[in-house]
């Protein structure tokens, strides 16, 4: 993933399990080493 703010490659540093009201997902968390922008994307649940 690339940073939507500055275009730098983002570092995937976490996969966080999240229980929503009706189902569980895993969020992949990315950080931009250049500007600190945070992004996430949903992965398939376990």
């Amino acid at each position: 993933m690339h940073c939507p703010e500055c275009g730098a490659p983002m570092n995937k540093h976490a996969e966080k399990p999240v229980t929503l009201t009706t189902y569980e997902i895993i969020l992949a968390i990315y950080c931009c080493p250049n500007c600190g922008k945070v992004e996430s994307e949903e992965l398939n649940g376990m």
Binding site: K12, H13, K16, V18, C32, P33, C35, G36
Partner: protein
């Protein structure tokens, strides 16, 4: 790690109660953080945020708060102890974000009118920090008998808090630097 980007450490004043005594400790710790080199901060009073109460979670993000949490490398939460717990509206605010917190440092300042300085509320807070993805430090600040720690104008009356705040902030900065390096440079295997 970008060395040109200062650490961002906002201070959250976690109560909306009229006559709240936590505002003086929040202002004090905000000034102490602001005096550190290489750190930027802001004081976020949850009473000024625009969060509805007929919904909850990430659906009700306040842009000012979520953008501050995204910029943050660490957060300081100033919370009173009300009936051994923290204010419900503070939880409501914190629950409005998630990805913004992950692998960032957190320190808690407890405030109480009694002698224990929020020790119970701090212990109650730790599992919540963990679930939010925040990393707690092992220094806290406990403002017990807070009505005696400040005069009515907010002037600190006990200089011991300056030394304690220095240790607390030093540890928080160390953790914030390490976690920023990890977020920026260490990929999940």
């Amino acid at each position: 790690m970008s060395e040109t980007r200062p650490l961002s450490i906002p201070v959250i004043l976690g109560t909306t109660r009229k006559g709240r005594m936590s505002s003086h400790p929040a202002q004090f710790i905000f000034e102490e953080v602001r005096n550190r080199d290489g750190v930027v901060t802001e004081l976020i009073d949850i009473a000024t945020l625009n969060l509805v109460v007929d919904d909850a979670g990430e659906a009700i993000k306040d842009p000012r708060f979520s953008e501050a949490m995204e910029r943050a490398d660490a957060v300081i939460i100033v919370t009173p102890e009300y009936n051994h717990g923290f204010p419900g509206l503070l939880k409501h605010v914190l629950d409005s974000c998630l990805k913004e917190y992950i692998h960032k440092a957190a320190g808690i300042v407890g405030v109480s009118a009694g002698p224990f300085g929020g020790t119970r509320v701090i212990e109650n807070f730790l599992p919540i920090l963990r679930e939010l993805g925040l990393v707690s430090i092992f220094w806290d600040i406990n403002f017990g008998n807070v009505q005696k720690a400040f005069d009515p104008s907010g002037r600190l009356l006990d200089e011991a808090y300056v030394r304690h705040a220095d240790k607390f902030i030093g540890e928080l900065i160390w953790m914030a630097k390490v976690l920023r390096y990890g977020r920026d440079q260490v990929p999940l295997q």
